[in-house]
Amino acid sequence: MEIVRIPEASELAPEDQPFLEATKSWFKIDFVPKMSRVLLSHPEFGRPYGRESRRAMSDGALTRAQKEMIVATVSAIYVCEY
């Protein structure tokens, strides 16, 4: 069970709403993932972290699919269910 209250997307700062909408498009989903909401509940950390994550995961020297496989492997090594 989560040990913090996760804010709804609508509770987050108005200036973060475009990024939250872009996050839904990025993942092709109709909700904002918990991690995005948690990170942006501390905007001084979450904003640069979110921007860097998006940049790092974009197609480039490695494809986005290859990068997602790295993410899945890191998660598997840590047995991170999320």
């Binding site: 989560e2 860097e52 490695l62 496989m69 492997t73 890191v74 998660s75």
Partner: protein, 159 residues
């Protein structure tokens, strides 16, 4: 692939096997059989491993396994299958294997899989990107675990 990588790394690091490519001061805590004393069956597996990895020798972790030839044959068969070109190519598999090794802080695995990934075409720019992703998601997974976040998705669902 993640499973066999993690397992081989655990054996290699646990036994303090010397790194295959980078310099290290590691000394194995067990005696490693030499390739010259291998039986014909083991030699056949060794030859296959050397060709698969494009090496002029057999990685120490497999030489250790040759103490039990049946186990070596079976386990190598599984590793070969996990890393073979199939729906994913070998480079696409070697990059997460490197990431798994880095995440698990395996010196042996980082050394071995970085060499393999480079040999198969990973550029320095690609390496930089891979390490960035490892770093970013070492952060995210720790935050998720610390806060005990439950998954957003059913992992069985497909987009």
């Amino acid at each position: 692939m993640a499973g066999t990588t993690h397992a081989l790394n655990a054996v290699a690091d646990g036994l303090r096997l010397p790194l295959e490519f980078a310099q290290s001061g590691r000394s194995p805590i067990v005696a490693l059989p030499g390739t010259g004393e291998a039986s014909p069956e083991v030699k056949a597996v060794f030859d296959e491993i050397a060709i698969f990895c494009a090496m002029d020798r057999v990685p120490a972790v497999f030489r250790w396994m040759a103490r039990d030839p049946i186990f070596l044959q079976g386990y190598w068969g599984a590793v070969r299958e996990a890393f073979a070109d199939r729906k994913l190519d070998r480079l696409t598999k070697e990059i997460p294997a490197f990431a798994a090794s880095m995440t698990a802080k395996s010196d042996y695995g980082v050394d071995l899989h970085l060499r393999e990934a480079r040999r198969l075409g990973l550029t320095e720019q690609g390496l930089t990107k891979a390490v960035e992703v490892v770093q970013l998601f070492n952060t995210v997974t720790k935050i998720a675990d610390a806060l005990q976040l439950e998954p957003d998705f059913d992992p069985r669902s497909r987009p």
